[in-house]
């Protein structure tokens, strides 16, 4: 019944756009702070960068959130926890792998106890860096916005700022020195 209602609302009543808009501006990540990358996420949500401007509200329970932000190294023991957390999250859900460790193993590449995140859960966005800056984390969320909108890619438009009132005036063209006349 609820499935039929959902089909009707999304397809017939054309609510899909509204639904996507709602998902896009309420990406609530669950922290999986397994290593040092978690420090940068703290900066991302702090007053300096304030990722809540893009709807990124950090959450600590997986059952009320729809993004999982894997911050750092995943060991074989933690991979089981990651899978369990991922399966408890409601649909639609997205995974962001943050840092060199989560992407390919990073510092602990080819180790006896480290796994890559994409072998455990499907990853939507990768963030490179060790550690990635808060700007990179915000860009990952904007990439996720674009993915939900249906135009994947790092589609970040630069904002044009007119700086001319603050710049020093351009130097005036000097009159050309007269050619010296002999004699």
């Amino acid at each position: 019944m609820s499935q039929a209602l959902r089909e009707f609302l999304l397809k017939k009543a054309k609510l899909e756009k509204l639904f996507k808009w709602g998902v896009r501006w309420s990406l609530w990540p669950v922290h999986l702070v397994t290593s040092c990358c978690g420090v940068e996420v703290a900066h991302t949500s702090g007053p300096g960068f304030d990722a809540e401007r893009w709807g990124v509200l950090p959450f600590h329970t997986m059952r009320q959130s729809n993004v999982i932000l894997v911050e750092g190294t995943i060991t074989k023991k933690m991979a089981k926890v990651l899978k369990m957390v991922y399966e408890q999250m409601p649909e639609p859900k997205y995974v962001i792998a943050m840092g060199a460790c989560a992407v390919r193993g990073g510092l602990f590449w080819n180790s006896y106890h480290v796994v890559q995140v994409d072998t455990v859960v499907p990853v939507d966005v990768y963030i490179a860096g060790c550690p990635p800056t808060p700007e990179a984390v915000i860009r990952a969320f904007i990439m996720l916005h674009n993915k939900i909108k249906g135009q994947p890619g790092p589609y970040v438009e630069p904002t044009k700022v007119d700086l001319t009132p603050y710049l020093p005036p351009p130097p005036k063209p000097q009159p050309k020195p007269m050619a010296q006349q002999a004699g």
Partner: protein, 177 residues
């Protein structure tokens, strides 16, 4: 030509603690040295580790800072290193005392000091898991502590493998990982 083997104990030198320790420990000291940082290092027989620990506790060393092992594969030996330190005794401030013991690699067994120094318990469990050294008397031997239960197990025999031993083969992820 054999591989060059690093020294087990640094070269001997004078140290302010040496007199006191020689009087207390007697013939339990096989050898001694001073590390480049100025810490005293003692070599003891593996059978006397508990005796040494009891006497050091009486001298005022109140915790074991670290306990680890070094794998000398060419010689067939493990070198177990205990680092003792003190928080409360003002004479022993800024002093680290290294105590080392050699055990054979094919039968790695040494007495546990976890009941004398409770701070050595976790280190012994980790050392057991990484090197396969059996600390006799510690109730947690033979169990996994930090490693995943499914990780580092020999597929043919089902026995655990010890990842920090020199002959452990790390999985090869290839060029692109």
């Amino acid at each position: 030509m054999s591989a060059k083997i690093p020294p087990k104990c640094p070269p001997p030198a004078d140290h302010p603690l040496l007199e006191k320790l020689k009087a207390a420990l007697g013939d339990a000291i096989l050898n001694h040295g001073v590390t480049p940082e100025g810490h005293l290092c003692l070599m003891v027989p593996p059978g006397k580790v508990r005796e040494v620990a009891t006497k050091l506790k009486e001298l005022g060393f109140d915790h074991v800072l670290s306990l680890s092992a070094v794998d000398y594969m060419a010689e067939g030996k493990f070198l177990v290193t205990y680092v003792y330190a003190s928080y409360l005794n003002p004479d022993l401030k800024n002093q680290l005392l290294h105590v080392r013991a050699e055990i054979p690699r094919n039968d790695p067994k040494i007495a546990s000091i976890a009941d004398i120094y409770p701070s050595a318990d976790y280190d012994e469990r980790e050392c057991h898991e990484m090197f396969g050294i059996w600390f006799e008397g510690n109730p947690h031997m033979g169990k996994r502590f930090l490693l995943d239960p499914d990780c580092c197990i020999d597929e043919k025999t089902g026995k655990p493998l010890y990842p920090l031993r020199k002959d452990f083969k790390v999985p090869d992820w290839g060029l692109m990982g």
